[in-house]
Each structure stands twice: as structure tokens, then as C-alpha cells.
């Protein structure tokens, strides 16, 4: 029953990839995956926010369970994630303006990225301890980045192709995601 850190990371990265197997974070996945130059920073920014959110959620959950206030979990999670994103934004702005300029425009988008809330909710539901939670959010973020980067590079190439007019746009992205997801099915059971 007890999953090792490595198993959690590998599982969240490949076998249960957030985007391709669990449908989390699809909006940015479809929206930002047009260009490789933006996809990678977006992935990194999301991973970072996921780690922060996971940390906050873990602490918050301890607090809520000790007061038996589980029914406030969702509302407090969403509030804390929104604040965490704000906080990250402010900290970056102050201490690393370069990084802020690179990631800044993506940060507000991340607030409504269900992958971030998903990490918090899943780690609570699976009763992960602190290290497991961190591993889970890191693996999930890395998996999100991986899917985003693969998708972006493929879509960049498709821009040089004569894709039939009917298929252009979201339909093509979805089909691509489907085939990628098929490919990732090969990892099922990995880490077990």
C-alpha cells in the first residue's frame, strides 16, 4: 500500500500523466501548446506553483483535520491557491525580475488550472504524507510540462503541414492529445 517516492513521481509523470490520463489542466494544455517557446516556461511555472500549492494545501489540511473542518476544505484550498499564485508573483517580481518577465504572463492563468487544484485534492484524497505530496506535485508538474512540450513541438511542425481545413484548430489538438494519450498508455502499470 505504501508507495515509494520514486513510484509516485514516475506514476504522476508517465503512467497517470495529469494531462493525458487524468484530464487535468487541459485548458492551458490546449491553449498554450502552440509554440515551444511559451510551452516550456508555462510548464515550469505551473510545476513551481503546483509545488507551492501542494505545500500550502498539506499544511492547511493538517490544520483543518485537527479542527474537524473538512467541509471547508475545497473553499480554503481554492483561496489558498489563488493567494499562493499571487504571492509567487509578488516574490518573483521583487527578487527575480528576469524570471518574472519570463513567467509573469502565465501566472494568472495558472490560478484556474485545474491541475493545481487537482494536486491538492488528490494528495488529500490519497492521504499522502509530506514527502509523498511533494513528489506527487513534482511528478505531476513535470508530466504536465512533458506533455505540453511534446504537444507544442508537434503542433509547431504541423504549422508547416497542409492540414485539412476541417481539422484545423482544437479538433486537431484533441486528436493529437488522444494519440499521445494512446502512446502513454504503454506506461500503464509502470512503477508498480
Amino acid at each position: 500500500m505504501h508507495e515509494s517516492i520514486g513510484q509516485i513521481v514516475v506514476s504522476a509523470l508517465l503512467a497517470n500523466n495529469f494531462v493525458l490520463a487524468m484530464f487535468l489542466g487541459l485548458c492551458p494544455f490546449l491553449g498554450v501548446s502552440g509554440k515551444l517557446d511559451t510551452a516550456f516556461p508555462m510548464g515550469v511555472a505551473t510545476t513551481f506553483v503546483m509545488l507551492v500549492a501542494s505545500l500550502c494545501a498539506y499544511g492547511l489540511n493538517l490544520l483543518l483535520t485537527s479542527f474537524h473542518l473538512e467541509f471547508l476544505r475545497l473553499i480554503s484550498y481554492i483561496v489558498i491557491i489563488a493567494s499562493a499564485v499571487q504571492l509567487v508573483e509578488m516574490v518573483l517580481k521583487k527578487y527575480s525580475p528576469g524570471l518574472f518577465r519570463a513567467l509573469g504572463i502565465y501566472l494568472p492563468l495558472i490560478t484556474t488550472n485545474c491541475a493545481v487544484l487537482g494536486v491538492a485534492l488528490f494528495q488529500t484524497a490519497r492521504e499522502y504524507d509530506f514527502l509523498q505530496s511533494m513528489a506527487f506535485s513534482f511528478g505531476g508538474g513535470a508530466g504536465f510540462t512533458l506533455a505540453l512540450v511534446l504537444m507544442a513541438s508537434v503542433r509547431e511542425r504541423l504549422q508547416l503541414s497542409d492540414v485539412p481545413a476541417v481539422a484545423q484548430g482544437t479538433a486537431l489538438s484533441l486528436m493529437l492529445a488522444g494519440i499521445l494519450s494512446l502512446g502513454f498508455m504503454g506506461f500503464a502499470g509502470l512503477g508498480g
Binding site: 503512467a15 515551444l36 517557446d37 512540450v149 511534446l150 513541438s153 508537434v154 509547431e156 511542425r157 504541423l158 503541414s161 497542409d162 492540414v163 485539412p164 481545413a165 476541417v166 481539422a167 486537431l172 486528436m175 493529437l176 494519440i179 499521445l180 494512446l182 502512446g183 502513454f184 498508455m185 504503454g186 506506461f187 500503464a188 502499470g189 509502470l190 512503477g191 508498480g192
Partner: protein, 383 residues
């Protein structure tokens, strides 16, 4: 001289190679493999080859009529897709499912992207992966090869009604006094039962009632023919087999009990077929020589990882699909270094005359070595 002359732009001569010719050669080289496949499994295999290929061609024709496609069935590429797809399916795979696979392969794997040359994933593998996910039971149902009466009788599962579940082959096999498990592939046998198949059986697929695909040796020979005539790039199979063999060998060295020997890894399952015919699909593999090595190494590694650690016995298909997805990325990273852009290289053997010592230094010549970055060819942001 009375005829009007025409203006054209250089070059005015052309090499002999055309797309149709390449594709035709590949089909030709597949013929012996198909023949052996039919010899192994009889009527069902022939029907499967026919049904899948026809489904591919029909779909190709259908989409070509919409005018959105770059090719047509006359370029032979859909034929290749069909044959490869059929070879990668179990011989007793229900024909209607085979037709579904063929349709999906061409429609989803090729027509969607605009036809030949534009597909991102190998169409045959898209079709294969689709039916693997859709009909996991049927696609795992291999039957033994060289059954008596294989030329007069279909494997029962072949003839399932469309959309209906195929008959279970177990009873049929039982009537032939064969264990229901005789149909497991060598990889499945190893993974689930810990039984290693012998080298000779694996290589030639000739002895016993092993449920193996087409003979790896035959595929290697046909592939070598193509590679020698330069209709496929030898680097990709070399990189895949090398990386898979190396990974398997290292693991075998760590724990010879848990992991099978590298020979078994290389010659069981679809690795050879995948490495020689599937991964080398031109449109979906990198064009850059360095990229081909990276691509092949990635596929080999992923294959072994999936076979050893995931829940599936076979991983070649998934490895190649992921390799296909990574191809644009690999290409981007491994663009060739243009002549004169790389750092000054030492005089090589072909260089007959070493440079005069008094020649002016590179610095004076104004040549500068480019800085290395992760994405080497990232465009410079110029204001």
C-alpha cells in the same frame, strides 16, 4: 532548330529516386515476410492481410476524394500501412476489427494531418494502438503457428460478426489437443509465467507451435536489402537495437534471474519488425542524422522499460509512438551544423596538405565559435 525552347531553373537533371519508387520497394521487400506469415498461420493470416490492407486503401481513397490529401493510393504508402498493420496483429484477429484498425490507421493517423508526408505518427501504429486499447482481449489472443489444417480452416475468432464478440479460440485449440496457453507470445510467457523461449525458435519462428510473429531473421534480411539500397536509414534500426540490447544487457548483468538475456529481448515480440519497418517510417522519424541516433536510442530504451516495468508484455508500439511524438523536438535539437559554422576541426586523413604554419590565426580571420545552448537553434531576439 525550330522548336521553341523552354526556360527552367537549375538543376536541370534529377536523381532517379521518387516517392512511388521508394514505397514500391518497401512493399516488395515486405512480400517475403507476408508470404512467410501466411505459411505460418494459413488462411486466417491471408484473410487478415487482405482485409486490413483493403480497409487502408479504401479509407485512403475515400479521403483522397475530399481533395484535402496530398497523396493517393497510387503512391503505395497506404499499402505499406495496411501490410505492416496486418503483420503486427495476431493472425486470428477478427477481420472486422482488422478493418477498424485499418480505417483508424489511415483516417486518424494520416488523413487527419493532410496525407502522406504530413503525418506525425506512424499510421500503422496508430491503428494498432487504437485496437489494442479498444479490443485488449482479442489482440492478446495469439494462436500457435504451423497448426495442422491451417490452409483449409479459419481460426474461429477471425470470422466474428461485425461489432460482435469473437469466438473463444480455447475450445478450438482444445479440440486440437493444445493447451489454451500455447497461444501466448514468448514475451507474455516470460512476463507472466517466467518461461524463456529458445534462441532458434525466436530467430526463425520455424519450430514448434510457438505463437510468434514473422521471423526476425527474415525481417532483418529484407531490411538489410532496403538499407543497402538506401530505401531506409540503417541508423534508426541500429540505434534501436543497440540501445535496447545495451539496456537489456546492463540489466541482465545486474540481475540475471529477474531479467531475461538481451538476446531474448531483441528477438522476441515485435522489436525487430518495429525497428526495421515501423520506426523507420520516413515522415515520422527525424531527418537529421544525429536526430536519428537520439530517436532510435529513445525508442530502444523505452521499449525495454515498458517491457520490464509496466503492466504490458510488449512495448515497441508505444515506444515508437512516443518517439514519433518526440521527433519534432529531437529534430529541433539536432539540426546539422552548417559547413564552416562548427569549430575548426583537425585536419583529417582526407586532407592531404596540412596547413602552412604561418597562416593567419582563426581569431584574426574573424571566425567565432557559436555558444552552446540547450535549444541550439533558438532564434535570436533581435529588436
Amino acid at each position: 532548330m525550330t522548336a521553341t525552347i523552354e526556360i527552367r531553373t537549375a538543376p536541370h537533371i534529377r536523381g532517379p529516386r521518387t516517392v512511388e519508387r521508394i514505397m514500391r520497394q518497401v512493399v516488395l521487400s515486405l512480400a517475403p515476410i507476408c508470404a512467410f506469415f501466411v505459411y505460418q498461420y494459413g488462411l486466417s493470416a491471408a484473410a487478415s492481410l487482405l482485409a486490413v490492407t483493403l480497409a487502408c486503401l479504401g479509407t485512403e481513397r475515400l479521403f483522397a476524394r475530399t481533395g484535402s490529401q496530398s497523396g493517393d493510393i497510387s503512391d503505395w504508402s497506404a499499402t505499406i500501412t495496411g501490410i505492416l498493420l496486418a503483420l503486427s496483429l495476431p493472425p486470428g484477429f477478427p477481420l472486422w476489427m482488422g478493418a477498424v484498425a485499418g480505417f483508424v490507421a489511415v483516417a486518424l493517423g494520416k488523413a487527419l494531418f493532410g496525407g502522406i508526408g504530413f503525418n506525425v505518427f506512424n499510421p500503422a501504429l496508430v491503428g494498432r494502438a487504437f485496437v489494442q486499447a479498444a479490443f485488449p482481449v482479442s489482440i492478446a489472443a495469439y494462436t500457435p503457428s504451423f497448426l495442422p489444417g491451417r490452409f483449409t480452416e479459419f481460426i474461429p475468432s477471425s470470422l466474428a460478426w461485425p461489432l460482435m464478440m469473437p469466438a473463444d479460440n480455447a475450445a478450438w485449440l482444445h479440440a486440437m489437443h493444445l493447451d489454451a496457453l500455447a497461444g501466448a507470445t514468448p514475451l507474455a510467457k516470460w512476463k507472466f509465467d517466467g518461461v524463456l523461449a529458445g534462441a532458434g525458435e525466436l530467430l526463425t519462428s520455424l519450430s514448434g507451435h510457438m505463437a510468434v510473429g514473422p521471423s526476425p531473421l527474415l525481417i532483418l534480411v529484407c531490411g538489410a536489402y532496403l538499407a543497402l539500397r538506401r530505401y531506409l536509414d540503417w541508423r534508426i534500426p541500429a540505434a534501436i537495437l543497440g540501445s535496447a540490447g545495451l539496456t537489456a544487457w546492463i540489466l541482465f548483468g545486474f540481475d540475471a534471474v529477474r531479467y531475461p538475456n538481451p538476446f531474448f529481448m531483441l528477438f522476441s515480440g515485435g522489436l525487430i519488425l518495429g525497428a526495421v519497418y515501423m520506426a523507420t517510417d520516413m515522415a515520422t522519424s527525424p531527418v537529421t542524422p544525429r536526430g536519428m541516433w537520439v530517436y532510435g536510442a529513445l525508442i530502444g530504451l523505452l521499449t525495454v522499460v515498458i517491457r520490464y516495468y509496466s503492466g504490458l508484455p510488449e512495448g515497441v508500439m508505444y515506444a515508437i509512438l512516443i518517439g514519433n511524438a518526440a521527433t519534432p523536438l529531437i529534430e529541433r535539437i539536432t539540426q546539422p551544423t552548417p559547413f564552416g559554422v562548427g569549430e575548426a576541426r583537425k585536419a583529417r586523413r582526407a586532407g592531404t596538405y596540412p596547413l602552412h604554419p604561418s597562416y593567419i590565426s582563426r581569431e584574426e580571420a574573424g571566425a567565432s565559435a557559436p555558444k552552446k545552448r540547450i535549444f541550439r537553434n533558438k532564434p535570436k531576439r533581435t529588436p
